[in-house]
Symmetry: C2
Subunit: 255 residues, 2 copies
DNA sequence: TAGTGGTCTAGACCACTGT
DNA sequence: CAGTGGTCTAGACCACTAT
């Protein structure tokens, strides 16, 4: 069942991408759209809200909405899963488990993931044949058996876990910064020690809010960037100071 | 005029932060909230949607909403403006213009900002007394006079421009990656050449979609991170491949 | 099967923009 | 001032979850 407002949003989005609503132009009024699509104003508003959330359209009270850009937006899955992101972008990609072991959870990991044992996995991923990403993932004990059952060259862990045990990654918290490559990073990525890496740390949970994994992913500089569009009044990405000196991290990420 | 749904959202948010609705617990049903606040269900839904967008609350059809976290979310202004962000976080901060000059726009800048002349400004910003950020900003010609009129140690350019000429930064597009410090970066930030920096490139526009500035901001590693919470079905931050080899950048950022 | 969130309608009033 | 988007209501039906 696809919602009416989704269909309208799709149609408007296509109009933007195809140039029927060029960047900088005004969108038709809500009343006009409601008539065109034979829908109530509320439904049209819901459709337009989707485009606003995607950053394609800007909105202010009293004035017509304007088209801000024509870049397509990606899904949660594409942010969460390297494989799904790379596939959607038409990239050649691969992955390989480099090391994997069960070990007792540290105090912080236990608080973050629950349980007393975790599974630690080190993966190297390639894009267009080049190594670009080192993933150090710590899985909660309860998913460890399912993860261990995966092949070492599993393309998409996210998809495989869904198919194997119906596990859905639903929520994520991400922290993005830059770090110098360590010895292991450097060896795996083929860069010099100390060279810049883009780091994405994250904790992912199920629909119920149950933590599944915590990961430290490091991209070779120049291979990948994060992109965001925002507007006054709607903006989920935030800066965070990293406490240069004062009392240490109460933050969830401390590895 | 503060909207009803904002007040309800504020109240619910405070309940989450104060522990009345602890992380992992269920939120009251929409019907219950509607009765409690004496509002229609639609209004309550709008309030809860705010919390969902902030990542504080998770939502799925058929089940009660659950509380995901208690971190406060920040505003567009706080992402856009170093001063407003630092002030909201209670940090000590400062800034200083290091260099500034008008020059002809490159072809890319002309396409991005409009006009044939731009104003280029190099600023160094400090956090807790330490230099942490080098800002290289290119302003569109039409705002150049207003920017040049600012004092060299202006704390908040965003606020000053609003007060001086009523300019509002309304929309932004950001690209986040890691780079090695160049000679100038290294000298200004007090780090070694080649050490990792977190880079945020952005283009900002007015309400009308008119481009105002394009900037390349570089943070010393370990000083600042970007943070995001997301969920299946709502997610504005995306990865972007940086084209290791194939034909060069059609992307808007190419400086 | 009852409860809950998701979708949709029809209409009202208000705040703001543009002319 | 007319037009437009923002807020709010009251009620209906549907899809999904939990028991």
């Amino acid at each position: 069942m696809v919602a009416r407002y989704e269909l309208i949003a799709d149609d408007l989005r296509e109009g933007i991408l195809s140039g029927a609503h060029p960047v900088g132009s005004q969108l038709p009024s809500e009343a006009e759209l409601a008539e065109r699509y034979g829908a109530a104003r509320g439904t049209v508003r819901q459709a337009v809200a989707v485009l606003v959330a995607e950053g394609l359209v800007g909105s202010r009270q009293g004035a017509r909405r304007i088209v801000l850009g024509a870049a397509r937006s990606q899904s949660f899955a594409e942010l969460h899963s390297f494989a799904q992101w790379a596939r959607a972008g038409g990239h050649r990609f691969g992955g390989q488990v480099v090391g994997q072991r069960r070990r007792p959870a540290s105090a912080a990991e236990s608080a973050r993931l629950g349980g007393e044992e975790v599974l630690e996995v080190l993966r190297l991923r390639t894009l267009e044949g080049e190594p670009v990403l080192v993933e150090r993932t710590v899985y909660a004990g309860w998913v460890a058996p399912a993860v261990e059952a995966l092949p070492a060259d599993c393309e998409s862990v996210t998809e495989a876990l869904y198919e194997a045990v119906g596990l859905v990654f639903a929520y994520g918290e991400h922290l993005i910064d830059a770090v110098a490559a360590g010895a292991q990073d450097a060896r795996l990525l083929g860069v010099r020690r100390g060279s810049p890496l883009l780091r994405q740390r994250r904790v992912t949970t199920t629909h119920e809010g149950r933590p599944v994994e915590s990961s430290d992913d490091r991209y070779r500089a120049g291979s990948v960037a994060f992109s965001i569009r925002n507007s006054i009044g709607a903006n989920p990405l935030v800066r965070q100071a990293l406490d240069l000196r004062s009392a240490a991290g109460e933050h969830m990420f401390d590895s």
